[in-house]
Symmetry: C2
């Protein structure tokens, strides 16, 4: 079994740990976090709050906040093991002080309370050498069917795209929920629409799937909507309407 | 069997027609559209391009563009049947020239080519009288499990909320796809994230489900992202980041 130490105890660390627990190939021998209260979800393995007590392992996974990754890496001595981070936003080079290093970025949104099917999660892999890449792929294949080789520049772009389709989309859900609440309509009426919007683009490109008043240049409906929105909703409505109109070549 | 005439041959008319075909209670005796080429998807029933040839029916459903609904209604004589429209944006009163009238609004995004499970689609019902409401509910229950009584003001708000969670969300998917394309990353890497973003809010409110650099006030990541976006993407990124920050009480 490959021995792994996870540095970090947040959502990504938590779900990685659970996923590795179900494999025969990987043994998480320790989880590190500097705050002891964060380690209560990891009682099935050894935990430590001290970097000087880190166990030996073939792979160390930095699953910490972006700023903490470089900071903690600085404090560790190289052991010829493989050192990986799980950040979408950081280049591979933040770990270049080690001989063997790479990136192991699971492209998904994680909440501690919500189960995820890890086998379907895309893992974006990048490595300092061909040999390390093989080890990374073995590690990835133990928990996911979807492995991609993605370099640091592509990963940065992917991370930005993820902000659009996840963070910003979720915020649009919130603005929709605000409008519902104000007008005493249950937000869950919108659930089938939200699900279908996401499912539709498996078959159609988002450009082909576009519908609505902005696409139709339906000024009357747009005016009706603007009348019932607050200032923040209005700004978002106007800008996205404009952006759709620009893309689809119809001037308002 | 209740005889129904559908006026209109667009996506909503098409999916309504298919749904009614699978019921024992409803018989669509005719579909009207003024453009004959639009009627080719309705060969299983009678079709007409002339309002003077409309058949007798207990229920007439106006499933036309918003502007066409009032226009066509003007040309029809009242027959004491029930007259309904399927528009999210129009008040019930556009059909008030008839004695019995109402709204039958399916809250979903329809494409002709994509099958939908109609039984899960929320139907928003509004009626000119209690008696008509009973008939509307019977009609609705024949094809859907999710019936809601929604008045015109609520429906208008719901329609605006739908623009946020459907039209605008889909456009964010497009912006994400643009970023992927420019950086030669396949857009489908983002599919599991998109699906999970939509699924998550069945358990958590969108406000609770929010994650990402805007929420964390992670200026470094935000700056990294802004550097790789084009002008249109930048405007959307900045405004939505601002809107998230405002909501969650952290100033950038």
């Amino acid at each position: 079994m490959t021995k792994v130490v996870i540095l970090g105890a947040g959502n990504v660390a938590f779900h990685l740990f659970r996923a590795f627990q179900h494999t025969k190939e990987i043994d998480v021998v320790q989880v590190y976090n500097h705050r002891p209260e964060k380690l209560s979800d990891f009682t099935e393995t050894n935990t430590t709050t001290s970097l000087s007590e880190l166990k030996k392992a073939q792979i160390y996974i930095f699953s910490l906040k972006d700023d903490a990754i470089a900071e903690v890496a600085k404090k560790l001595k190289d052991s010829r093991s493989l050192y990986l981070h799980t950040s979408g936003g950081l280049p591979i080079t933040v770990l270049s002080k080690f001989e063997n290093f790479g990136v192991f970025y699971p492209l998904q949104t994680f909440s501690t309370k919500r189960k995820v099917e890890f086998r379907k999660i895309p893992l974006c892999l990048e490595s300092s050498s061909e040999e390390n890449l093989q080890e990374l792929k073995k590690l990835g294949a133990s928990i996911s069917e979807n492995l991609y080789e993605i370099n640091s520049e592509q990963r940065r772009a992917l991370h930005a795209a993820a902000v659009f389709v996840n963070n910003f989309t979720n915020h649009l859900y919130h603005l929709g929920a605000e409008i519902c609440e104000k007008n005493q309509v249950p937000f869950n009426i919108l659930q089938p629409l939200i699900a279908e919007t996401a499912a539709k683009i498996k078959e159609l490109s988002p450009e082909q799937a576009q519908t609505g008043p902005a696409l139709r240049n339906d000024k009357k409906t747009i005016q009706t909507h603007l009348k019932l929105l607050n200032q923040d909703q209005t700004e978002v409505y106007k800008l996205l309407t404009q952006s759709i109109t620009k893309l689809h070549g119809k001037e308002l």
